[in-house]
């Protein structure tokens, strides 16, 4: 891929954990600005490892991980990972607080992020008072409060029911457009990956590497009609086949 420098680039990356697990090997992935890329694979194939690597939470044993230094980072975990002792407002404010931003300036940013996920009225609520879907929204608002350029999500909706999950998928697509995000999304769901992404990267079994990349062509604004379209279904079938081939 030529053109402008990628937001994130991983070349020939290998990760081996101290317990001997060879999580990634020969892993290549590159994200251009504005892309929405899904990492698709079953549990335990190294998807999360790749994401932690991209976030800099983990070092590679081999290969290179390069991130555009100007690209701020947002990270959404598999669980909402909220501080139970703090209300929604303070949870979303956390990244700004850790970066030493003054409270007044932070207030606007927090309220804007909360409005973006439809939770402006819940700033004073505590996490335990919210549903699973709402907690995940708070988690996304927290990731977006610093106005990141690159958003990394680690199977964020895996624990949610189907309806909530589709709603959050749509919210995520809207945020991706509105906030000019580049997204790396980890999932084990073929349907979700094709629905969301501009590109789906299928991972092999451990040690994980990208075995196939599928471009997803679809309308600029995806909604229910895209889910029912022939192109969507065809891409899902291809992705499923690639996944099965990689894990035969």
């Amino acid at each position: 891929m030529s053109g402008p420098a990628p937001v994130l680039s991983m070349r020939g990356v290998a990760v081996r954990y101290p317990n001997g697990v060879h999580a990634l090997g020969g892993f290549d992935l590159s994200l251009a600005r504005g892309e929405f890329v899904s990492l698709l694979g079953p549990s335990g194939c190294g998807k999360s490892t790749a994401l932690r690597l991209a976030a800099g939470l983990l070092g590679a044993d081999a290969g290179r991980v390069e991130r555009d230094a100007s690209a701020r980072l947002g990270f959404v975990f598999q669980e909402p990972t909220l501080m139970p002792w703090a209300d929604v407002f303070d949870n979303v404010r956390l990244p700004l607080r850790l970066q030493g931003r003054p409270t007044g300036e932070a207030r606007d940013a927090v309220m804007r992020a909360l409005a973006g996920v439809g939770l402006a009225d819940f700033a004073q609520a505590y996490p335990r008072e919210l549903s699973g879907g709402m907690r995940m929204r708070v988690s996304i608002a927290r990731a977006l409060v610093t106005r990141p350029a690159l958003l990394l999500l680690d199977e964020p909706f895996a624990a949610l029911d189907e309806i909530t999950r589709q709603r959050l998928d749509d919210d995520l697509l809207r945020l991706w457009r509105d906030e000019d995000l580049t997204v790396l999304f980890v999932t084990h769901s073929v349907w979700e990956s094709v629905y969301l992404s501009t590109r789906v990267a299928v991972l092999s079994a451990r040690p994980g590497r990208v075995v196939e990349t599928l471009e997803v062509t679809g309308p600029a604004r995806r909604d229910e009609s895209f889910r029912a379209s022939e192109g969507y279904v065809r891409t899902c079938v291809r992705a499923s086949a690639a996944l099965r081939a990689a894990h035969a």
Partner: protein, 262 residues
């Protein structure tokens, strides 16, 4: 709703307590049990009222020892727990020592401490401290380690300083554990203070409720023994109530222990 449930929760306990006292009173009166064997609750109450002026200074002394020891235990326990949390090696080196202190009965150590520490008051303080220290240390260590792994990563991601991590993540995570430890330690500090004073067998003005119980026992003033004992129990219950209230105040809205059921 929670408050209602708790409020109603007092009622059965109050009924049981009242029934026990009533039965006790009836037993003593109907069987004509002499007060030097078993005084009736009404006599104990009278004695308590009459002797209160002479018992109050002792009560105050015991309370001071208890809370003094507790304060030291909190300072020492939390301080050491933070050190342990920062360094596994220090923990492996020192934790066995803390366990030895914990498992050795305080009655067995108290005579030694009374020999080595010149001031009796200081010796009592040390004894009460030893028993109160461990639950605070052990609970706080677990609490500091209990912080969610993903939250830790999040703090790393946003470049949190050590101080931010301690204040905004580790301390709140450890708080429920610490408070549970504090509730246990409060009762233990009182037990430590009383047991050590029994061992010391101290007499005189600057002594606590244990000494009043001992004196009354030498003079076979059984109702006075019971009166002093009632005060000791009252202090224990009060300590528990205070820390229970504190835990509810501090954890109220966020912690599951304060919200029974889903």
């Amino acid at each position: 709703m929670t408050a209602g449930r708790r409020g109603a929760g007092w009622l059965p306990a109050a009924v049981v307590a009242f029934a026990v006292l009533l039965g006790w009173e009836a037993l003593v009166r109907l069987r004509g049990i002499p007060p030097y064997l078993l005084p009736a609750p009404s006599l104990i109450a009278q004695t308590l009222w009459r002797d209160l002026p002479s018992l109050l200074p002792s009560l105050w002394f015991t309370v001071r020892i208890t809370f003094g020891a507790l304060l030291l235990a909190v300072a020492g326990g939390v301080g050491l727990a933070v050190v342990f949390a920062l360094s596994r090696r220090v923990e492996t080196a020192l934790f066995p020592l803390a366990i030895v202190l914990q498992v050795t009965p305080i009655v067995a150590i108290a005579p030694l401490i009374l020999i080595y520490v010149e001031s009796t008051t200081a010796a009592l303080l040390v004894c009460a401290f030893i028993v109160a220290f461990f639950p605070i240390l052990a609970n706080t260590v677990v609490g500091l380690r209990s912080a969610d792994a993903n939250l830790r990563d999040l703090f790393t991601l946003y470049g949190a300083t050590r101080w931010q991590r301690l204040r905004l993540l580790l301390v709140p995570s450890a708080l429920p554990y610490f408070l549970a430890g504090l509730r246990i330690a409060g009762g233990l500090a009182l037990i430590g203070a009383v047991v050590a004073e029994f061992t010391a067998g101290a007499a005189g003005r600057e002594t606590g409720l244990a000494s009043r119980i001992l004196e009354a026992s030498f003079r076979t003033e059984i109702p006075r023994m019971f009166a002093a004992l009632a005060l000791v129990s009252a202090v224990g219950v009060a300590i528990f109530a205070v820390f229970d209230w504190l835990a509810r105040r501090l954890l109220g809205r966020w912690h599951d222990t304060e919200h029974p059921g889903p």
